[in-house]
């Protein structure tokens, strides 16, 4: 059997008492709406400032307040910041899940918990630290309504004491978080100190987990992928953004709007070089983006699975009428409404050939914030170059979680506005222009932008059959010629897309192919395979579809290639097989579709089973 569907696998129990420094996970269980996001971010930022490679993942329900939520922080001195499946340090603040959370731990782990929950009775093989949050919160927070919130900052202090997080950095993080609100800074700082002091006095360190300053974050930033993509749009020169709210993509549009307001409004006149429109639904948002792209704007829309489905008809129009538009799909778990707050890579297939009839839409697939920034900016160039919809495929894990990243490089390339004819250009062509005439032989034709004042500039865009001059045509030859040209154009697109990142290895026993956020898990799994099994592997991370020939060559070089992806039906492998049928039998599949950010252990276990290691 070549296909493995990965169910969660338990890591082997480790009872070690040796110190574990800068290489463990902290898992905070709270109640949604209790404001724990602030305290978790403060934690994350403090660790970041201590120079420890770190990531934070929010495992939240589709709910506003009341349901259980978790935040999991992964620190790794080796720089593996994918999710760690195992929890090492649990902070149990939520009575609804506390028992289950504790039960799921491996022996030797640490539990900080709210004293009244009495979790220490549950197991003997863990290190328990009860904390009387209610008692601690009252003196530092006079307003009862806010205590629910302030309790959470207290655990930051407790963790600082227990794990060796520098209080100085906690303070800096609080300052950063509440910069404009001195009252809030004070309240939170007092709470953190209360937690810290109390823990120093009352808790005896028993567990092996400890943080220590290192130098891992020189020149780095912390950012969510959505904000990175938003910046990419802003620095990519977007001029029209249309969107409809949907998790997990809303924050992309919202932060783009904020950055645009900041950098793209003339401070003197107050006038904007952009428009951001919240549409009435996804049919309208894609329709507006297409209208704007047709009329010469750099336009984009952002959405998630249900929106992609609704946009299907319109995307076919843009493809066929050859209108540039960028679509960002921040993938969440489908089908249907599915799990709106869980991550997935389940839209590859639908995006690639969205809409009825023969269609192809290029995809750019970033795996890091840097790539979110760069690829989003580039997507506009690709879209305007090929005059077609272009997808940027993020996912919830990448988009909504905080990642450390290198500072983004200012885009040094010139914007490519594609084959656009000015009044003068038309004049020079002496009437020898047709909107859909393939003059250059690359399938890409020249367009004019409405408003062009040349009397011959106008053409008629349509979703119906047309001849090279954009006249309505039902002629068989016109149709075939046009469709063949469009295919040629689309296949040529691969040269414009980011090349795969290949880590080849002559000693590789087998290879991995992955895309997007599977990257962290694959990287770490390769290290696990090497350290634990002595097995070397190769790795090709694809970053664009249609795939590059380099990907084909890579697969051809390796007899067993595991395609790792986060969906049920091996969608990435399906696309690989479709494009490279000849090497189809090299491709195996590791599919995880549980909605959590993929972790390395899951990949390793699956490979170990397949390879019978």
């Amino acid at each position: 059997m070549h296909d493995v569907n990965v169910a969660p696998v338990e890591e082997p129990v480790s009872q070690t008492l040796e110190e574990v420094v800068n290489d463990f996970s902290v898992h905070v269980a709270t109640v949604n709406g209790s404001g724990s996001q602030s305290s978790n971010l403060i934690l994350l930022r403090a660790l970041f400032e201590m120079g420890i490679p770190v990531s934070g993942k929010n495992l939240f329900p589709s709910n506003i307040a009341g349901l259980p939520t978790w935040y999991t922080i992964r620190a790794s001195k080796y720089g593996f910041t994918g999710r760690k499946k195992e929890t090492d340090v649990l902070v149990a603040m939520n009575s609804q899940t506390a028992e289950e959370d504790v039960e799921s731990l491996s022996p030797g782990r640490a539990v900080i918990y709210d004293e009244p929950l009495h979790l220490n009775d549950l197991r003997q093989d863990l290190h328990f630290y009860p904390v009387p949050f209610d008692k601690l919160v009252a003196p530092v927070c006079p307003a009862p309504k806010l205590r629910k919130l302030v309790r959470n900052i207290i655990y930051d202090g407790v963790l600082a004491s227990l794990l060796g997080i520098e209080m100085e950095e906690i303070r800096n993080a609080i300052l950063k978080q509440f910069k404009t609100k001195p009252k809030a800074v004070e309240l939170n700082w007092n709470a953190a100190v209360a937690g810290y002091d109390w823990a120093q006095e009352h808790l005896v360190k028993k567990d092996p987990f400890r943080f220590e300053r290192m130098e891992g974050n020189k020149g780095k930033i912390i950012i969510e992928g959505n904000a990175a993509a938003a910046l990419g749009a802003v620095f990519g020169g977007v001029s029209v953004i249309t969107w409809y709210p949907i998790t997990p993509s809303s924050s992309l549009a919202e932060s783009a709007q904020e950055y645009l307001k900041r950098f793209r409004i003339d401070p003197e006149t107050g006038k904007a070089t952009f428009a951001v429109v919240q549409a009435e639904d996804e049919l309208a948002s894609i329709g507006m983006a297409i209208g704007a792209g047709w009329a010469g704007a750099r336009s984009m829309t952002t959405t998630a699975g249900p929106g992609i489905s609704l946009m299907s008809e319109f995307v076919g129009l843009a493809h066929f009428a050859e209108i540039p538009v960028v679509l960002i799909d921040v993938q969440r778990m489908g089908p249907s409404t599915g799990l709106p707050t869980r991550t997935s890579q389940g839209d590859f297939l639908s995006a690639a050939t969205l809409s009825h009839g023969d269609t192809l839409h290029p995809m750019l697939i970033p795996a890091t914030p840097e790539e979110c920034f760069e690829f989003t900016a580039k997507a506009f160039d690709v879209a305007e170059r090929i005059q077609s919809p272009v997808f940027v495929m993020l996912d919830l894990d990448l988009g909504m979680n905080y990642w450390t990243a290198d500072k983004f490089e200012y885009p040094d390339w010139e914007m490519d506005r594609g084959k656009v004819l000015s009044e003068d250009d038309i004049e020079k062509l002496l009437g020898n222009w047709g909107r859909y005439r393939d003059i250059d032989g690359d399938g890409i034709t020249y367009r004019t932008i409405p408003g062009n004042r040349h009397p011959q500039a106008a053409y008629f865009a349509r979703g119906t059959g047309h001849d090279p001059d954009a006249n309505y045509s039902e002629r068989e030859e016109d149709w075939i010629r046009n469709m063949a040209r469009i295919r040629k154009k689309m296949l040529g697109t691969r040269r414009l897309l980011p090349e795969p990142v290949i880590d080849d290895n002559p000693n590789a026993r087998f290879a991995f192919v992955g895309a997007g956020t599977s990257n962290e898990a694959i990287r770490e799994s390769r290290s696990q395979l090497l350290l634990e099994y002595g097995i070397e592997t190769a790795y090709c991370r694809v970053r664009g579809w249609p795939f590059s020939h380099r990907t084909e060559d890579f697969i051809a070089r390796h007899k067993r290639v595991y395609v790792v992806e986060q969906n049920r039906d091996a969608q990435l492998r399906t696309l690989l097989r479709r494009q490279f049928p000849v090497i189809h039998d090299h491709l195996r599949s590791i599919c995880y579709f549980g909605g959590m950010p993929l972790d390395a252990r899951t990949v390793t276990e699956a490979v170990v089973e397949e390879e019978r290691l």
Partner: protein
Amino acid sequence: MSATTTAKRKKTGTPNRIGLGLDPYRGLKTTLCAGCGHNSISERIIECFFEMGIDPTQVVKLSGIGCSSKSPAYFLSMSHGFNSVHGRMPAVATGAVLANKQLLALGVSGDGDTASIGLGQFVHMMRRNVPIIYIIEDNGCYGLTKGQFSATASRGSLTKTGISNDLAPIDSCGLAVQMGATFVARSFSGDKKQLQAILKAALSHRGTAVVDVVSPCVTFNDHVGSTKSYKYVRDNKIPLQSIGFVPFFDEIHVEEDFAPGSVREVELHDGSLLRLEKLEEDYDPTDRLKALGRIEAAVEQGQIITGVLYVDTEMPSFTEMLNLDDLPLAQIGPERLRPPQSALNEVMTELA
């Protein structure tokens, strides 16, 4: 009722205000049925844009899908056109004017396109006051797919295949007034003079100008209120019914002097009657509540009220609300679209 012959293409005569002849305002030869009301509307657009001296290169003509939506190919050949998808042209038009607020957007839609599949977009476009002249070529049926009912079909009317419509029609003008359109008018495809006047008024409006034009489908629709007469007339005038046979008709025109304040009956090709009521000259179109009342009252009397029903000149248009740069967004160069290196540095420092 008086039906004159199809408006002949005028010869290109003296050039207009901006020095253009009639030709750039014309389009391809129509492929709609002979006698289709939509053709008359195209003629009026041609005349009106010519006479007003609109620069056709600064016009975009947009449509959905339908016989009506085909018609932008038949006028303003020097304007960019976009025949988009069924019912969703409002979004495309909105995007286009965002990209270039200097464009004059002319939307042409059908009643199926607007009131059936496109109702949501139609309403939200009006709510935003998107600057556009939005013409509904209203025949109460789906012409292009062969005569099924649209949401403006009158209750009790029958299709060619004998299916009767049990539902009340949507009054697009009433809806428009209520949903925030800032210019709402209704006319009849055969009323040259009025339709021209309305189009000219719409041209000087800044926000969404909805112009609902009753435009009989000679091939499929037994029009508004014609329930009783249809079968009788058809069966008697045309001795046989044959699949796919479309008899030739002349376009219907009412006399030029159809006076404000009066009611006129127009006989359609199938013998059914249309009762047009023209608003009196001193009608005040700035009172929203009165406009609504007047529309509803006409419905109750089985009349179709025509004229400029409502105007609001205060409300800023959507592109005004967004406070866009003076230069159309589409024309802003890379140097202003991409913020400077310092901006990125600033953000990076914050995030570090």
